[in-house]
């Protein structure tokens, strides 16, 4: 399945707009996001990577709180020739900021006269921010990966 090129542009733009709209709401409270009310345990959402942090351009992610500021993110993402799965550990360090560190595995599929595949593992790390828009959790993370270059990872989850 090929991802329309327009989707890789439009979706991040929509997500960025959501982040901008969410900014005033996050400035109202001074406690860590995890401490506001009874925190939800599970969030499920979409991610967009620019250019392709950990596995691809578009992805599906499950975010799961593990207590004491820790959380796990499990996701899959895909671009035209690249499909990846990743596992990320996040740790909150400020009101809406968190550090992240994880492992990922990518499957490359080279389509042509002779379809060839290759797989490789990598690690990634970075820093992220989260904002809450009612029931919606929006995130922006800067990822640095090895051997992959990394980039920005945007997320919207319910």
């Amino acid at each position: 399945m090929r991802i329309p090129a327009a989707a890789s542009v439009i979706l991040p733009a929509v997500l960025l707009m959501g982040l901008v709209l969410a900014r005033p709401a996050s400035a109202d409270h001074h406690e860590p996001a995890a401490a506001v009310a009874e925190p939800r345990q599970t969030w499920i959402g979409l991610t967009a990577g620019l250019p392709v942090p950990v596995g691809g351009i578009l992805g599906l992610q499950v975010h799961r709180r593990l207590g004491a500021g820790d959380f796990a993110e499990v996701g899959i993402s895909s671009a035209a020739v690249l499909t990846g799965a990743y596992l990320t550990w996040g740790h909150r360090v400020s009101d809406n900021g968190y550090t992240l560190l994880g492992v990922d595995a990518e499957l490359f599929v080279f389509a042509g006269d002779d379809v060839r595949t290759a797989s490789l593992a990598g690690i990634h790390g970075g820093y992220g921010w989260e904002w809450f828009l009612g029931p919606t959790r929006t995130t922006l993370a800067v990822c640095v990966g090895f051997p992959w270059l990394g980039g920005l990872r945007l997320g919207v989850a319910l």
Binding site: L87, L107, T117, A121
Partner: protein, 179 residues
């Protein structure tokens, strides 16, 4: 063919994600000491893999694995017989045995039979692990990492093949039971 190659691992991860949705994790109950899971990702390669994990302490555990199968056409592994036995040590640095995120190191012996040649190998695999066991005992786990594989064997003419090293991705998406 391309879509089929990609659908397998994606589908298994989606199944795993779906299994992790329930919020009723076995927190506050008597913690589990063992978990038995089947690696559904290995089924894509035509291999059945059973993994048994035993808790050693609050955050550490050992997992033994046994796998065998004929390979699958979808994965480009036909006319083979694959076998693997391994042991893994893991430490949950966030959460605990019933739901946690951990680091693991696995050592596994590999055997590949494809008449008339055969190969054997040894794999060292560092991995990240996430496991969740809900209150009913149903368990899902995901392991992602790399593997350093050393392999040697005998080719079709009976000549010994030189030792070869490869580095590859390693992923396990497993469903099972904790008790």
């Amino acid at each position: 063919m391309t879509a089929r190659r990609r659908a397998g691992p994606v589908a298994t991860v989606v199944v795993l994600l779906a299994a992790g949705l329930p919020a009723s994790v076995a927190h506050g109950q008597k913690p589990s000491t063992d978990a038995v899971v089947v690696n559904v990702a290995a089924l894509y390669y035509g291999v059945g893999e059973l993994r048994w994990e035993h808790r050693l302490a609050e955050r550490s555990a050992l997992q033994a694995s046994l796998a065998a199968g004929p390979g699958s056409q979808a994965a480009g592994l036909t006319d083979h017989w694959l076998g693997k036995i391994g042991v893994q040590y893991r430490y949950y640095f966030a959460g605990g045995f019933d739901e946690g995120l951990g680091l693991a190191v696995e050592v596994a012996g590999l055997r590949l039979l494809a008449d008339p040649y055969q190969r054997q190998g040894l794999a060292l695999s560092p991995r990240g692990v996430y496991k969740i066991a809900i209150s009913s005992g149903a368990t899902a786990e995901l392991q992602i990492g790399g593997a350093l594989v050393a392999r040697a064997g005998v080719d079709a003419s009976g000549e010994a093949m030189p030792l070869r090293w490869t580095v590859q991705a390693s992923i396990a998406a497993a469903l099972g039971w904790s008790f």
